[in-house]
């Protein structure tokens, strides 16, 4: 058990190297190794004791001169993002089985490389290690978008780059600042928790971290890279970005902002809360009129993430628990939606809603799975989306009832744009183009059936998932409150 986390972290890196060298066998090699990773993660989850403690901890001195150590571990806050990452990577690899990419081994190797980066982000207990993981996850996705993206990728990537590099720089400054304030002269998160900074200092650190995380999620008004990037990135890249990467931002807020700078939170948390809620309504309204279904889903993702963020900043058990389970649910649902868009784009050469229609008649299997994913997205009770959105809205409600009403508009607006999309693509008369549509088959079916099963299982019996993070969330809240009380 000792080395389990180490294996989990570096197995994908080894797989990446093997995949890069495996030539035409890259796809099966990548898939199998990602499944092994999933297996390792499953062992980890099964051996995880759902209390508030840090488990599977590893701690090696690394760059001792600077007080940097390779310190990582798993607790109730990180277990769900870890599960999500290891669950989605094989699914995303499987989605590429039917579509060919040039230079396949490199493409897949980058994905696996990224997996290590993501897992580092979710397990690091050392700020420097966290930063390394953050960048290690960003660089591959940048290449994936820049090399395999759509026609407009150069311009779009420029914007993506400016945003993310900007965000990362601020975060680095924040980390260095904390390090300099730390009498122990290290990057240990525990030491950061115990720092005694005044409100002004905490406010600066808050913004340094928040900018990076807000861009990553993204939160209004730091979002304009996202629709462009999601639209231009190759399908697998979009799934990685929306399914897993944006959770880095959400996780970052929970792990690094809440406990480290609670005073910054009392100063600026409400601003972040309001921005999040504005984003929900703003992005939903934009989604109303989008003609490109992929871009529409990109905007819908901004709305959904806005609610998650608002739930976190409402700082209560329901909001945080809602955020934890919704990270998982949103990842599953959004990957499903983008995969369907990819399937449609591959067959029809367009994602323009106006050009499609009537596909349900010729593709009944797709009609069913697409509908189930739409229902998960609009948070119908009995699907995974409901559990998360219900808890999140309840969390938001406890801050302010009007905030809950405003944020709750997502319930209505979500139905408007998702059902409009579903109707535009699937219902109505079959036209000359859509008449040629082939129903989903093979690996496409496997992926979509798994996603649908997860949507329903989590929706009907969410207890095991909620239980994973319950104690840790409780402890986190106590920690924040205690720190606030001690200051007052």
């Amino acid at each position: 058990m000792e080395q389990l986390l180490l294996i989990l972290l570096f197995f994908p890196l080894v797989s990446a190297i093997v995949t890069a060298c495996s030539g035409s066998a890259a796809k099966p090699v990548a898939l199998i190794s990602s499944l092994v990773s999933l297996g390792i993660a499953a062992v980890l989850v099964l051996n995880f004791i759902p209390d508030a403690s840090l488990q599977f901890g590893i701690n090696y001195p690394w760059i001792t001169a600077l007080g940097i150590s390779f310190k990582a571990g798993v607790d109730g806050l990180s277990i769900i993002p870890i599960l999500l990452t290891n669950l989605l990577i094989p699914i995303i690899i499987l989605t590429t089985f039917k579509s060919g990419h040039k230079n396949e081994p490199a493409f897949l190797a980058l994905m696996l490389f990224m997996q290590t980066g993501l897992l580092l982000v979710f397990t690091a207990m050392d700020a420097f290690l966290f930063y390394i993981g953050w960048e290690a996850a960003l660089i591959p996705i940048y290449f994936i978008c820049a090399i395999w993206g759509g026609k407009d990728r150069i311009r779009v990537n420029m914007k993506f780059f400016v945003y993310t590099v900007g965000g990362s720089l601020f975060m680095l400054l924040g980390i260095i600042y904390l390090y300099l304030q730390n009498p122990a002269q290290n990057f240990d998160i525990q030491a950061f928790y115990n720092l005694d900074l005044d409100a002004a200092q905490q406010s600066w650190v808050f913004w340094a971290f928040f900018l990076a995380f807000a861009i990553k999620m993204p939160i209004f008004p730091f979002h304009t890279w996202q629709p462009d990037t999601y639209t231009e990135a190759p399908a697998a890249g979009t799934m990685l970005l929306s399914g897993i990467m944006l959770k880095m931002g959400i996780y970052g807020v929970i792990r690094w902002i809440l406990p480290v700078v609670p005073l910054g939170l009392t100063e600026w948390g409400m601003t972040a809360f309001i921005l999040s809620i504005i984003g929900i309504v703003y992005a939903s309204i934009i989604a109303f009129k989008q003609q490109n279904a992929k871009r529409l889903i990109a905007y819908s993702s901004i709305a959904h993430v806005g609610l998650i963020s608002a739930g976190i900043f409402s700082l209560n058990a329901q909001g945080l628990q809602g955020a934890m389970i919704q990270m998982l649910s949103h990842g599953i649902n959004v990957v499903g939606l983008f995969f369907i868009m990819d399937i449609i784009a591959n067959r029809m050469k367009t994602n323009d809603i106006a050009a499609l229609g009537g596909i349900a008649k010729v593709a009944p299997k797709l009609a069913i799975v697409f509908l189930i994913i739409v229902l998960g997205t609009v948070a119908l009770p009995g699907t995974n989306g409901f559990i998360g959105e219900f808890l999140l809205l309840m969390g938001v409600y406890q801050v302010n009832i009007w905030a809950a009403v405003f944020a709750g508009l997502t319930i209505i607006f979500g139905a408007v744009y998702m059902f409009r999309t579903y109707q535009g693509i699937m219902l109505g008369k079959t036209n000359d183009l859509t008449l040629t549509f082939r129903d989903i088959q093979g690996s496409e079916q496997v992926v979509l059936y798994i996603i649908c099963a997860l949507i329903i299982v989590i929706g009907v019996y969410p207890k095991p998932v909620l239980h994973l993070s319950e104690a840790a969330v409780q402890q986190l809240l106590e920690q924040v409150n205690q720190k606030l009380i001690s200051v007052k």
Binding site: A20, Y60, P61, W62, I63, F70, N103, A106, A109, F113, A136, I139, F143, A146, I147, N157, M158, K159, V162, V165, H223, T224, Y282, I285, I286, F288, K289, Q290, A317, Q318, Q321, G322, G357, A360, K361, L375, L380, P381, G382, F390, L391, L393, M394, Y397, Q398, A404, V405, G408, I411, I412, V416, Q423, L427, G428, K429, P462, K463, L466, E470, Q474
Partner: protein
């Protein structure tokens, strides 16, 4: 004890949904119909047994716990069921009427390609509807609440190749969702106030915790009422229901008349303890109910599509139920839910039989004289029409008069409007009956008269059963003034403790007299106009006087919503996307990007480079870091 098996009641239709859903393309139509109908019948038998057991039991409220569903902090929501007089009687209606409609559908949908899909959806609907009424807390109720909304969406858009039908389905879902947001907010408020969402925790505490007219309880009941408005098609959220007629007719009978749309009434009756603490909201409910009743009736006066007449009539009758709830006559409103389930299901199924015979024509202007061709349909529909018009001793008379009597005690003007609406009801219903079944046949050669024949037994038998129920259903609530003892009111008394003031017997006889005479006169006017003068409504584009035009065009409410809600939102959408995102925010980012011009130059180099090289570089970087670690230890 049989009551502990209540979880089987929803489970059996759910299994029917699974089997028919999976076998929709492989099973024969007869098998599908058999599985679907038998599942609901089995639930019905079980419901009867539960109902009997509850009747013999001194304890009138049983909770059946299944498992813990959602937990977070103080919040704990179990999936558990509540069997009490209110839910047990709903079980009977849902499974009983539901079964008849399943049987009917076997005939009605026989030539449809989506037969298997249709039956699986119907079973799924029954499942969710049962969940709605069985829930022991607001959240389980909400699962059913949204679940029936989904089934409604699927069934309205059953013939989705027609884009208008698909739009009608979407409209229904979205309008329901507006109400559902109200429901959700109410749930949060309730949890915040009572610390629980369980009925058994909330209702006994309510009166002690909150004083009447407290702002919290007003907000809670207002939000619950908004939820009910969406589901039960009350002003201003009613416009989805007439459009929902796009679905196959059995769906209109089951979902959009007998069961789902009465869920709002059920929910308010269930929460009657809370509403009694908020008189302001009660007045609001009464006013909205009355306005909806009147508006629905006014629109129904001039409609020419047989299903649209029935749809607006449903809106109007639901308005009566809310009027009853608003004056505190919860048992009266619930009584009307039951009788309405009988006669409105009957009328829709009868209309379906006519449409079936007319090869899917629904316009009454091309019907006429059908009573000889469709004798069973005609006779049963006649009974249904009398029942809804409110003539004794048919069921609708008792329930409607009970509501109106209570209204009279509270407010004479509202009573007058309510009675006037009852006269309108009698007029438009007999107008429908006369236009369809009397006079001479007005169809074109396309709908040749010779081809018109009575529907098969699977369709007529449910009609006959429902006609009997519509005729005699009133016996469950015969008032004391007529020598009865109002069984329903007694049965519900453990749940509905409040009894609204009723007028004395003499006043009650007078009120009954006024309605009966007025209804007879209305029927006379309709007879004179549509049989005596053989009047036929004008064509689509004919000139109409302004008042008739207003009714015929549904008071332009859809157009109004379009102008004040949809168009502004669309405009905002364009503004946010093209100006805010593209010009303002991106403009700022690009301005910042100017400073990083150097970065873009190096980027250009990257894009022409070799991927393998970068991966190599990354790996080298990582390995060198690890090596450094190793060496520094």
């Amino acid at each position: 004890m049989i009551i502990n098996l209540v979880w089987l009641v929803p489970l059996i239709p759910f299994l029917g949904f699974i089997i028919n859903g999976l076998g929709r393309n492989t099973l024969s139509k007869n098998t599908v119909a058999f599985i679907g109908s038998t599942a609901v019948f089995a639930s019905f038998v079980l419901s009867v047994a539960i109902f009997m057991a509850l009747g013999n039991d001194t304890h009138k409220s049983h909770e059946v716990f299944l498992f813990d569903w959602i937990r977070a902090g103080q919040l704990n929501i179990p999936l558990s069921f509540l069997v009490d007089p209110l839910s047990s009687i709903m079980l009977l209606i849902i499974t009983g009427v539901g079964f008849l409609i399943h049987v009917y559908s076997a005939g009605y949908m026989h030539d449809d390609d989506g037969f298997g899909k249709f039956f699986s959806y119907l079973n799924l609907f029954i499942f969710f509807m049962l969940l709605l009424v069985l829930g022991s807390n607001y959240i389980v109720m909400f699962i059913g609440w949204e679940g029936v909304g989904l089934c409604s969406y699927l069934l309205i858009g059953f013939w989705y190749s027609n884009n208008n039908y698909a739009s009608a389905a979407k409209k229904a879902f979205v309008m329901n969702r507006i109400g559902d947001l109200g429901f959700l907010i109410a749930v949060f408020l309730i949890f915040n106030t009572f610390g629980s969402l369980e009925f058994k925790e909330i209702f006994p505490k309510a009166a002690g915790l909150i004083s009447s007219g407290d702002s919290t309880i007003i907000l809670i009941t207002l939000c619950l009422f908004i939820g009910a408005c969406g589901k039960s098609a009350q002003l201003p959220l009613f416009t989805w229901l007439p459009d929902a007629m796009a679905g196959p007719t059995p769906v209109s009978a089951l979902i959009h008349a007998a069961t789902m749309v009465t869920a709002g009434v059920y929910m308010i009756a269930r929460s009657n303890v809370l509403f009694e603490l908020a008189p302001v909201i009660q007045h609001l409910i009464a006013i909205i109910g009355l306005a909806t009743a009147l508006l629905g009736a006014l629109i129904a006066l001039t409609q020419t599509d047989i299903k649209k007449v029935l749809a607006y009539s449903t809106v109007s009758q639901l308005g009566y139920m809310f009027l009853g709830l608003g004056v505190g006559a919860y048992d009266g409103a619930f009584f009307h839910v039951i009788t309405h389930a009988f006669f409105k299901a009957l009328l829709f199924l009868g209309a379906g039989s006519v449409i079936h015979a007319m090869h899917h024509a629904q316009d009454m202007r091309i019907m006429g004289g059908l009573r000889k061709k469709l004798p069973i349909t005609y006779r049963t529909m006649l009974i249904g029409t009398i029942a809804i018009a409110g003539l004794p001793p048919f069921s609708g008379f008792f329930s409607k008069d009970e509501i109106l009597a209570h209204v009279y005690e509270q407010n004479k003007i509202m009573w007058a409007i309510g009675v006037f609406t009852a006269f309108l009801t009698a007029f438009y219903m007999f107008r429908m009956l006369f236009l369809t079944f009397y006079g001479t046949y007005r169809g074109t050669t396309h709908h040749a008269e010779d081809h018109i024949h009575e529907s098969p037994k699977s369709m007529t038998i449910p009609l006959i059963v429902l006609a009997v129920l519509s005729a005699i259903g009133g016996i469950i609530g015969i008032p004391h003034s007529l020598g009865g003892h109002h069984w329903l009111s007694e049965w519900l008394s453990p749940v509905i403790t409040h009894h609204a003031a009723a007028p004395d017997h003499a006043t009650e006889y007078m009120l009954m007299g006024i309605t009966v005479v007025g209804v007879l006169i209305s029927i006379g006017i309709a007879y004179n106009r549509y049989i005596g003068k053989a009047h036929v409504p004008a064509d689509e584009n004919a000139e109409r006087s302004s008042l008739v035009g207003l009714s015929y065009n549904k008071f332009y409410i859809d157009e109004l919503y379009d102008a004040i809600i949809r168009k502004p939102l669309d405009a905002m959408s364009g503004f946010f996307y093209r100006i805010m995102d593209t010009k303002i925010i991106d403009g700022i980012v690009n301005g910042l990007g100017w400073g990083t011009n150097e970065a873009s130059k190096s980027l250009r180099l990257i894009q022409t480079g070799n991927v393998g090289f970068y991966i190599f570089m990354m790996v080298v970087g990582i390995i060198s870091m690890l090596l450094y670690t190793y060496l520094s230890i």
